[in-house]
């Protein structure tokens, strides 16, 4: 029985980390309605930033997180302003091609500069675990999961209670209306893309504590983030976490009870079911 407790606990933690990875994708799609196919690449770029800063400054990623989030905000803002903006409202395959090109450039740029080897950030607590009753909880994952919940909550509060957040939500809910009342939609979109990328930056920084950075990681991160947000509901902050936890726990149980190499089969199976039965996702708004 204890084993199951351990498995489920680790599934929940892992799931929250998955949710963290997917939050940025969700923010951007929820408002700008563009699926960021370069999501994983941006995450990995943030991981490399954290690695570089840890190497040159000896800084703990938890400390450099705001800096990297800010840098990614700028990247996202510029990306939206100069590239994505003219593809708003265009066919999906064109948006896909655009972001695919961006992702190819980022991924191989990282390969070109840093080489293919996994890059690792060493922190003191990397191997620590908390003991909670009979359970062993991995310290780093607990931090990351906590950060995921905090970020999601922060985003929720931002969108709910600030003027800027309300304006952005207005764009998401009723674009025409937002334009009519004179909101600068282009700027708001750029800000949203920036915020989404800042979240990506934060999650990448936390990710580097758990996974070594390699360029090739990006593709898997993109796919995983998709699964999580589709299941949870594109555009919903809580949905990303719920989707993550669902995937995390189901993978953990499938991996333990069946064979681990089959566990992503369950993620895809879950994805298919949600797409068919509730395409707006578990926590998404029906359109």
């Amino acid at each position: 029985m204890e084993v199951y407790l351990d498995i489920v606990a680790s599934g929940v933690l892992t799931g929250l980390v998955y949710g963290l990875m997917a939050l940025g994708l969700s923010v951007i799609f929820g408002v700008v309605r563009v699926v960021n196919f370069a999501h994983g690449e941006l995450t990995v770029a943030a991981m490399y930033m954290a690695w570089v800063m840890a190497g040159s400054l000896g800084a703990d990623p938890l400390l450099t997180l705001p800096v990297i989030a800010a840098a990614l905000f700028a990247v996202g803002y510029l990306l939206q302003r100069h590239l994505v903006e003219r593809f708003i409202g265009r066919p999906e395959h064109e948006q896909f091609m655009l972001l695919l090109a961006v992702s190819i450039i980022i991924l191989n740029g990282l390969l070109l500069v840093y080489g293919p080897d996994a890059r690792h950030v060493q922190v003191e607590y990397a191997y620590d675990s908390f003991e909670l009753g009979p359970m062993l909880l991995d310290t780093v994952r607990v931090y990351a999961a906590g950060a995921a919940v905090a970020l999601a909550l922060g985003l929720y509060l931002f969108f709910r209670f600030t003027d800027l957040g309300t304006a952005i939500r207005a764009c998401a809910d009723n674009l025409l209306g937002a334009q009519v009342v004179g909101l600068d939609v282009r700027r708001l979109y750029a800000l949203t893309f920036g915020i989404g990328c800042a979240v990506v930056g934060a999650s990448g920084t936390l990710m580097v504590l758990m996974r070594d950075a390699t360029p090739q990681l990006a593709v898997q991160l993109t796919l995983l983030a998709f699964i999580v947000v589709i299941i949870g509901g594109l555009g919903s902050m809580a949905g990303a976490l719920v989707g993550g936890v669902l995937i995390g726990v189901s993978e953990a149980l499938a991996g333990f009870l069946l064979t681990p190499s089959l566990k992503s089969l369950f993620s895809y199976g879950l994805l298919i079911l949600v797409l068919l039965l509730r395409p707006e996702g578990l926590m998404g708004k029906r359109t």
Partner: protein, 322 residues
């Protein structure tokens, strides 16, 4: 008329090309034609009927595995094995289509559904002992004899097979576009509600598009299996292959007949050309080629989002469908 003349010249050039070029350009041409063919097949679904699939590697893989397994186990020649291969792939396509269309999964969501099914199948094949699982499936190499029916022989055989397939798919999609079904597809692509109000059975027409596209794509998979003689689920069902398939038609011009062919030429030559150039200047660091490739894609998408062919066709003064 002009378009036909141009096509005729191109086809004639491709027919005599092997006599004039070496083995390496021939291999590159085979690759170009293979992806042009797959692009045409994908274009039936997306370009004509407006259904975005990002999981076409699924049909390549199914076609490859079915034909290869039948050949390896029962000696069934490739051309005969192509029939069950196409049947299996078509059934898979129809299954996904039926689910997706019945449950009204549209646009990006449908695309994600196709990815999910392709990945799902990849993992299944990774665990399927009969076809070697993730350690791959290998066909025996045979020496000396050329056999078109069994698709055994030297590269030049595969070249003409690829050329034949591409030309046939081109002509077939040209012909399809002039049928009732072709009109139905275009109408659905432009506006499904209007199409339905015009008497088009949207569900059936979409299913037909998926059937044609998946069947054609699976034949590309059969070609792949016998050309490479080995396949791994991780490679043949991979998302990367699905993406590769859709690049050529999008870059060439979605929904045009000649777009996939042009796109395949441009992209493959871009890749090979960049490699050669970088080598020439001693800059061939890993990743450099792909960065340039990505930049080129970016520029094309920014400048010609509708693809290169509509623009080129205007320049050449031929109809955009060419």
């Amino acid at each position: 008329m002009k378009a036909r003349a141009l096509l005729g010249v191109l086809f004639a050039l491709l027919l005599i090309a092997p006599a004039a070029i070496g083995a390496y350009p021939l291999a590159v041409l085979i690759l170009i034609l293979h992806y042009a063919y797959l692009g045409i097949a994908w274009n039936v679904m997306m370009g004509f009927a407006g259904i975005l699939s990002l999981g076409h590697a699924l049909y390549v893989g199914l076609g490859a595995y079915v034909a290869a397994a039948l050949y390896a186990s029962f000696g069934l020649p490739a051309l005969l094995g192509a029939v069950p291969a196409a049947v299996v792939a078509t059934l898979a396509g129809l299954g996904i289509g039926a689910l997706g269309f019945r449950f009204r999964v549209n646009g990006v969501y449908f695309a994600l559904l196709t990815i999910a099914f392709a990945e799902f199948t990849r993992i299944l094949f990774d665990h399927m002992g009969w076809t070697g699982g993730s350690s791959g499936f290998f066909l025996p190499v045979e020496h000396g004899h050329t056999n078109l029916i069994a698709l055994r022989g030297p590269p030049i055989l595969f070249y003409y097979v690829a050329l034949g397939m591409t030309a046939a798919a081109f002509v077939a999609s040209h012909a399809l576009m002039r049928t009732r079904l072709g009109y139905a597809w275009l109408a659905i692509r432009e506006d499904a509600d209007s199409a339905a109000a015009s008497g088009v059975d949207v569900f059936r027409a979409r299913m037909a598009a998926v059937a044609v596209s998946s069947a054609l794509t699976s034949l590309g998979g059969v070609f792949y299996a016998f050309y490479y003689n080995n396949m791994y689920p991780e490679q043949i069902f991979s998302m990367a292959r699905s993406i590769e398939i859709i690049l050529a038609p999008i870059i060439g011009g979605l929904g045009t007949l000649f777009g996939p062919v042009l796109g395949s030429f441009v992209l493959t030559l871009l890749g090979e050309g960049t490699t050669s150039l970088l080598e020439h200047f001693g800059l061939a660091a890993p990743g450099a080629k792909q960065v340039i490739y990505g930049l080129a894609l970016l520029v094309i998408v920014m400048v010609r989002p509708a693809g290169l062919w509509p623009w080129l066709a205007r320049r050449l003064g031929v109809g955009r469908d060419g």
